[in-house]
Structure formats: C-alpha cells, structure tokens
Symmetry: C2
Subunit: 597 residues, 2 copies
C-alpha cells in the first residue's frame, strides 16, 4: 500500500527548488544528485521496512502505563535504532560531529516519507533529534559526549519538557524550579504534563530538555533556564536513577502509540539537571529550535495527510458505485467512484493539501539551509527573515488543512471510512493533534500578524513579495500557468488592502482589536502563500512538459491539474476572508463572557 | 454538566416559530403551552436520568460481538424503555393509535435534547420509532398488532436494512432477494451491512425494515419491495428463530455503543419477511420516511455539537491561561481563556452552528406538521415543497458544520481536548459519521441542485424566497437587525446570479457539468438558509428586548451577538463559493482517473 510519492519529492527537490544550488555553499559541496536521490530512496525503504508495517498495530495495541512504567510495542525502539543507524537523526550535523552534513531540505524530504509511513515512530525519533540538537548547540563538551551518541543511535529517547498544568500556551507562567548545587549541577523540582515520548520501555534512557525557573528568581520568561534532565544519570558506564517519576500517560484520541506522559521531577528523591546555554535565556534557546520543531509538526501533519490520500485514492480506483448523471441505465455496470466529479474534487483537494504542504515545507527547509550556511551574511539574513515569516504558516496550514483533507479522505470511502477496516479513521484521529502541538493555530495567528508581518518595518513581507513576484514572472511565460499568475497577482492586491486596514486598526485602536481576527488572517495569508507554491510547482511542471524535466508526462499533467484545482477551488476562498478582515468592528470583542451561554 | 439549553428550545418554539399557531389545526387543538413546556422539560429529565450519565461509558465499554451475538451495556435497553414509557417513540401518532398526537416540532425539540444527552441511546430509540412508523403507515392491521406495541415500549429494536456490500449510496443495485411463499409470506435471502442497531442483547427482538429485490424480477429500483423481517417471529406468545444471522459488527471510530451490524438473511435456514405497501414500490415507501430520517440525522449531529459546545464553554469559563495583548505584566494573574478574542470567536462559532442548526431543524419540523396536517391542501402542498427543498440542508449543515464546531470545541481546550479526560474527543469521533448517514453530503448536494432547486419549475425556491422576504421585512423594523436584513437581501442577489449561471450550464452542457460542484452549491445555499434562520432568531430576540418575550435580557443579548457573529463571520464565506460556482469550466471533470496519482 502506497503512503507517499517519492517522485514528487524528487520533483520538488530537483525541478522546483533546484536544491543543487546548495552545492555552491562549501558545507554542501559534496551533496550531489546521487546522494540526494539515495537519501530519498533510503527513507522510502526505512519506511517500508520499519515504520509502515506497524502503523495500525501501534494504534490497536496502544501504549499503556502500569506500576510507574510505560510500555510500547518493540517496533518503536527498532524503528528509532534503524533511523539512527541510517544516520537519519543527525544527518544535518557536521561531519566531525558524526553527521553527514546534509542540507535540511534533503533530510526533511526523507522525514516527510517517514512521517507518512508511521508518524508515531517517526515522532519519537525526530523529537530525540530535536532534543539532541539543543545539547549539541548549547551543551558543554562533557554533556555532548555523555548524551549525544546514545541519542543519535536511537537508543535513548529525547524530549522537550515545557508544558505544566497551569502553563500550556503561556510558558512565562511555568513554576518547575531549579536550585544550584555545589558541584555545578542543579536540583529540579516540579511537574510537566503532555510530555511526548516522556517515558517508555523501548529505550534505555530518556533525556529531558526541560525549562525551569530559578527558585525565588525573576518572574515571567526572564527567570527561566534550559536543563538536560535524564531519567537515569549515566555514571561510570551504569545508569543511576535520577528520580524522574512517571505519574501516568494521557488517553489520547489518536497517536496512541506515541506516549504523552505526566512527569514529576524531584518528588521521590533528588532530580539532577544540567544547565545548558545562558542561565536566564532558556526560553530563547528553546525557541531557537522552534522553527525546526514547527516545520517538523508540519511534516508530521503533511505525512499523515499523504498516507490518507493514497489510501483514499486506492479505494476510489477499486470501488464501483453508482452511475453518471447522464446514464440512468440500471443494466449498465456501476462505474468506479473515481469517475464521479465530486470524488475527483475530494481527491484533488487531498492531493492539493498534501503536495502544497510538502512543497512549502521543503521551501522553508531551503530557506533554513541558506539562512544558516550561506557565506554571505546578507543572504543569510534575507532567508532567515522569510523563514520567520513563513514558519507559522508551514506549521498551521498542513495541520489545519491536513485535518480537513483526511476528513474528506474518509468521506471518499463513505461508511467504510468510518470503520477500522481502513486506515482513514486512524489518520483522522492521529492528525488532529497537529493543530495543537508546538503552539495552537491561534498562537500562530498571533505570531504571524502580531510579530512577523510587522517585524523590521515589514521587511520580511517585502522580501517574500519579491519571491512571489519572481514566481509570477516565470509563470507568465507559459500558457498553462499564465492565468494562475494573473489570479495570484490580483489577489495579492487584496492582501495589501487588508494589511493597510489592519495596520490602521493597530494605530487607532487597542492591540486587541488589531489581533482579534489573527487566526482568520493566518488562513487568508496562508492561501496566498500556498498559491505561490502551486505557481512554482505549476511552472516546473510546464517546463517538464516542454521537455526540461525527468519525470513522466502524466506526472506533470497531474501536477498542473492539481494546481488548477487549487486556483479554481482553494484560492477563491480568500474572498470570504477578505470581507471578514475588512470589517471595522469585532463582535468577538463586544461579546462578554456573560453573554456566552 | 450542561449539554443543552432548554431555554433556547422554549425561545425557538414560542418566540420564534410561534408553535401555538398549530392549535388552529384540529389534530393539535390540545397542544397547549403547558403540554409543550412539559414535553421539553420531560426530555431534559429523561436525558439527565437515563441518557447523559452513560455517554462516556458506552464509548469505553463499547459494544462487542462474540459467538454470533452482540453485547451492549444494559443502559441501552433501559434508556429505550424509559423513552418508550414516556411516550417518546410515538408521541406524534394519533391518540387512537396509542400516540399523543403531538406536533413533530415539539417532539423534535425534545429529541434534540435527548440526542445532546447521549446520541447513542437516542439513536437506538429514534431508529426504532422510524421503523415502526413504516409499519404503521404501510403495514396490515395484523402486522401492526404483532410488532408495534413492543417497538413502541422500547422492548424491541427496529432497523432500516438498506445497504449491501455492492450497494451503498446506489440502492438500485441491491441484490438481496425475495420469493413468495404459499401462505403470503416471503423468503428473504442476502446480506446487509452497516445496519445500525442491527442486533444487540438489550432488547428481546429486532425488527428489520428491509429492502429486497424480487428474484428474477426487474432490475433497478423498480423491482424492489419493502419487508418486515424480524430476528424472531412472534408466534403464539413465543419468539421463534427466523434465521437472521449476525456475521459481526463494525469497528467504528465513534458511536462505539451504537452497533452497526453485518447481517445475513436466509443463509442458515429460512428467513421469513412480510411485504408492506405495494410490491414494487419499496424504495418509494422507504423514502417517504426519508425526510424525517434526514431531519433525525441533523438532530443527532446538532445534539452532539450542543453537548460539545457546553463542554467547551465550561472549560473556557474555568481555565486561566495567558494575558491580553495589551498587558504583558507577568505579575498580573492569568485571565480566563474565555476573555481571549479568539476563544470567544471559537465559542461563538460553536454556538452559531448549534443554535442555527436546531433553529432550522425545528423550522423544517414545523413545515412537516403543516404539510401533513393542515386542513387546506394548498397550505399542505406549499409547506411540503419548502420542506423538500430544505431537507438536504437540514441534514447536511448540522453534520458538516457540526464536525467543524466540535473540532473547534476541542481546540478551545488545547491539548486537554485531545485526551479522554474531557468528552470532546468522543464528540469529535461520534459526530463524524453524520456526514455519511442517510446519504453522504455529496448525495445531498446532487439532490438539492439536481432535483429540489428545479422541481415544479423552481416553485419550491420561489416559496422559500417568499418566506425569507417576510423575515427580511420583519427585520427591517429593528435597529439591531436592519443591517443583517440588508446583508442577506444583497447576498440573495448573488444566489440568483449563480442559479442563472448554473441553469445556463444545464441547458448548454452535459448534466455532469451542471452537477459537478453540487456539494459546493449545497454549502453556498445552506449559508443563506442559515442566514434566514439567524435573521428570524435575531428578530425574535429584538422583540424580546423590547419587552415582548419571556426570557432574560442576557439571553436575548446573547442571541443577538451570535446572530451578529453569523453575519460577520459565516455569511461572508459565500463570496468564495460564489467565485467557484460562477466558473465556466470544471477542472474536476477534465482531470482523468489516470492523472490522479
């Protein structure tokens, strides 16, 4: 059963993004075509062999908690170690750090395939990679030597321990605290909830990257430090209990094989932690990894939507049902449901969401590579700004529209989709959490409109507009894409109008008014960003049809049809958003809590 | 914990719909204010005592199949019998039939409360009522006497046995067949799948209302008859096995306490069935009940969305998190999340969907009462036509938007909403099937655009337009509603434009082109219909604020705020739909199955 289209990844990397441009950067000089293709291919094989076969069973035989321990299926550890052995957990690291010095763009293409194969196992692994990356960036040499090898091999789990009962989205309100010991270590005390991968029996140790507040220190985000807090302290080749207690795991609607734990630190004995980075800059350090974590969440969502799309597609190509409106002859055989216009619409929607999402996510990964490794500081800064602007969208669009795409995918199967005879119902439950992970959609709307649109006097928006303009100009050259280019250009005029209106509100009114509809603005802006991505894909497809590509004619035709679908059915939705955003008052603000009955 | 607002039902029945108008009809002469209020009150008590307490446990201890039998929790039978004893299963029937001769409008207000309390138990009961209604309408006196008393008391389960493995949405393709016996009974042979309530141990018998085709008879819908097929034949006071075999039940994503069975008839012995109605008009007979069944599905969806709304609302009123954008002081206490603009927006969306849905459903119920029982044939016909037009919307809007509302409700809770510490995750899984039950949304789009909009030369649309015009005129009288009325009138001009365009396509092109975007048209038209319902509610609220109502000022304010939300955030979405529908070509039709890769 298919869950990903590797050809599409090759298309995006080579024909749309021209990832070979990165070879001009010294660090990536060795990243040739063969290495890139092998990476994508290897991800497909890892997925086929270690991840996809266990997707359904991890849901049926879900993780469970008993007597202070958490149990998962052995496939979790096996998959993590397979990913580790294949270098997937630190492929982007320098050669001398044990990495492969690969561009994130290429690695993320592979990660997408792994998430599509089995988002539950892939998440354990990528979470570990993210935690390790914090130690690599901010940790002492000693900490690196002590923790990174086992994390990179997939033998130890890494986590991000942020959320607390009274502090979900509001990290400035955490209360878990630390006190310094004489030996330079710290004692940690408090509780963390919803900690993904927080504890399980498929690894030998769990390493928490934890935010804590200095006891009696400053309030708010200022008093917060970042700590390495292992479940077991590695000492002289043995593992010593560090008194991290697992109080339980959450009964989640989906991702039932991917543990979310409630943890207690320092309650049944001393829990030691090791500060990394600057003492009071813990939140800032953590957030330096946030762009990648958010793109990771987008990849997870897009991967699940991809698996759902291929499951729906297969069903639609095999299931006969009904006849066309112009053929009422009951003696005629039923047609395959893929022949029905509305089923095609639903499949095109799924495909548009999946391929639009991964296109944007790889685009952001490319901006990441350029912003981190280009030799020219101006280029790095430019790419960093665009990345900052796009990140809330790269996280939210695949999550929100991925939910909708999987729901539509279930609808393609009708009643069958609602049963566990097919994987759609698991995809539907699994993907839903992505709109909550790494900041809810509301948080990202506030981030986009309240910070990113305005930062450096709108510099990021200006840079992105230049990129979009370049794509529009390229698209004007082909008959197949000229109409789309015109549509997008016209629609961008609306964005300008909306921004002027909102900035007017920001100047004349309380910030609450300016930000009240930030979530709707996020969706509005995102549809334009996706329009840009579809334009770029369509141009690459048009070039492919003109003989300048390596894929099949039907691949390019398919890509163009999906782009046309996006322009005919998705982009027009912005007309509704625009009307909402151009309103001068906000009934949501006028409505009091008492009136909500 | 609240799951429904009974005041809102009183508001809709008395102040918006003026259900007392029905007393002018002889049949309803006794339906006075006290009786109506008692019915609503009694539904709330039934819900509180028999239904709501078991909602979560029916999910956790789900229905299961073992050795040919299906087991459910005893609360299923207890709830059914409680509803039966309270007369809820045949309240609309004539007094001489053992009913209470109540208007459907009043009964459905109560049903909504019961669905909100526990859609799983309520569904067993209403399905039984629907099956019984078919026997009542088309059955012989003997069949009525044999089956109805036990069904009405909730001791026997009724089902609708339509779907077969090869015939889901396409009922003309069923193959289960019948042969006549010498004694006037029939032998039934074949399989039915996804049969809700198809078998369980909480009742003494199951009575299937089953569609079957005459062996070697005409193909298509013409050869189909409607049969009463009991699991056990009631003979001389005992129950005799009728060889209906339960092959298994489906593993559903939600509604896990509400069985969907795979049944085999006549495979392990003879299965007897009793024809009701005319031999070859089975599908037509079944469909005479379809309007009610579809409104029932709408009620189920709206009920679940109602329960989810109150769960979200309670959480939002208790959970402190974050601060306002204009207050960054970390020493200030966190505010309740209901104070955040985007949380208010989400709650208003939920409330708008719930209250808009139940408003429309009761409106349709009122049209049903008038179409069935008014003394003037012209009035009956008029109301019947409007009902026919609105039914696909009354089924689909609560289902589709109910899904979205529950998802948004989960989002209000953030990570907590994804866990089974709260009921939202069950609401989310449970409500999803309503977009599939009783015809998928696609089917209803085709029904609306392909049949209902055009029937009798657009007569139904014209009649509905008159109703909407009346509401607009009433709304022009109040400051609070004038703006909404103007918006709706303007937007209806767009509907006319879209219809002209589509009818043009119907005349110049293949019907496939005309119908390709029927699902989008359904959504487009539905938002206008809901706009009308919100206008009617807003006018009643304005009257209430002017002293002409019985509810509290805050109730009316709340109603107006929600209407304003609908007009500011929901109705504007039609701009996007309109752009899509006014397109002259359909990429969905141009895309071939081979291009979907």
């Amino acid at each position: 059963m298919q869950y990903v289209n590797l050809d599409n990844l090759r298309f995006l990397l080579h024909e749309m993004l021209d990832v070979s441009q990165l070879r001009k950067i010294d660090r990536f000089a060795e990243t040739d075509r063969e290495m890139i293709d092998m990476t994508v291919e290897a991800a497909g094989q890892l997925g086929d062999n270690y991840l996809f076969p266990h997707y359904r069973s991890m849901d049926k035989d879900k993780a469970y908690y008993e007597d202070g321990r958490v149990y998962v299926l052995p496939c979790v550890g096996e998959g993590m170690r397979a990913m580790g052995e294949n270098g997937y957990l630190n492929a982007t690291w320098d050669l001398e750090e044990g990495g492969m010095q690969m561009p994130l763009t290429v690695v993320n293409a592979g990660q997408f395939a792994l998430f599509a194969a089995n988002g539950n196992i892939a998440s354990y692994a990528t979470l570990t990679a993210g935690a390790a990356n914090l130690i690599r960036t901010f940790g002492t040499q000693e900490l690196k030597e002590r923790y990174l090898p086992k994390m990179m091999s997939g033998e130890w789990q890494g986590t991000m321990a942020l959320t607390e009962p009274q502090a979900g989205s509001s990290l400035s309100d955490i209360t878990t605290y630390y006190e310094e010991n004489d030996d330079g270590s710290y004692n940690i005390k408090g509780q963390k909830i919803y900690i993904s991968g927080g504890d399980h029996d498929s690894v030998d140790n769990v390493v928490h990257l934890l935010l804590a507040r200095k006891k009696d220190g400053p309030k708010g985000t200022k008093g917060v430090g970042l700590f390495v807090v292992p479940k077991f302290l590695p000492e002289n080749g043995t593992l010593v209990d560090n008194h991290v207690t697992t109080a339980g795991i959450y009964g989640k609607m989906g991702q039932k094989g991917y543990v979310a734990a409630h943890l207690m630190y320092g309650e049944q004995g001393e829990t030691k932690g090791y500060l990394i980075g600057e003492e009071f800059r813990g939140l800032k350090h953590m957030f330096q990894m946030m762009n990648e974590a958010r793109i990771g969440t987008g990849l997870m969502a897009a991967g699940t939507a991809s698996a759902a799309y291929y499951a729906s597609l297969q069903y639609a190509k095999e299931r006969p049902q009904g006849r066309h409106p112009d053929n009422k002859d009951v003696n005629a055989p039923q047609v395959l449901i893929i022949e029905h216009a509305d089923v095609k619409r639903m499949l095109l929607f799924q495909k548009a969401v999946v391929e639009g999402s991964i296109s944007l996510l790889l685009q952001c990964s490319l901006y990441t590579d350029l912003s981190e490794h280009h030799s020219d500081e101006a280029v790095r800064e430019r790419n960093h700004l665009i990345l900052e602007l796009l990140t809330p969208i790269a996280k939210s669009y695949p999550s929100e529209y991925g939910n909708e795409a999987v729901s539509i995918g279930m609808q393609v199967l009708g009643g069958a989709g609602y049963t566990d005879d097919f994987p759609l119902e698991q995809h539907f439950r699994d993907i839903r959490v992505n709109s909550i992970y790494e900041g809810t959609t509301t948080i990202h709307g506030m981030d986009l409109l309240g910070r990113k649109m305005l930062m450096h006097n709108g510099k990021a928006v200006q840079l992105l507009t230049e990129e979009i303009q370049t794509a529009i100009e390229a698209a004007m050259k082909y008959d197949a894409t000229r109409g789309m280019a015109t549509s997008l250009a016209k629609s961008l005029g609306g964005v300008q109008q909306v921004m002027q209106h909102l900035i007017g509100l920001a100047q004349s009114e309380n910030p609450r008014v300016f930000l009240a509809d930030a979530t709707i603005f996020l969706d509005y802006f995102a549809l334009h960003v996706l329009g840009w991505q579809w334009l770029k894909q369509a141009v690459a497809a048009a070039r492919g049809l003109a003989g300048e590509g390596e894929l099949s004619e039907v691949f390019y035709q398919s890509k163009l049809r999906t782009a046309e679908y996006f322009y005919n059915y998705e982009l027009p939705k912005v007309s509704g958003h625009k009307r909402i955003l151009l309103a001068t008052e906000r009934v949501t603000l006028r409505t009091t809590a008492e009136e909500l009955i």
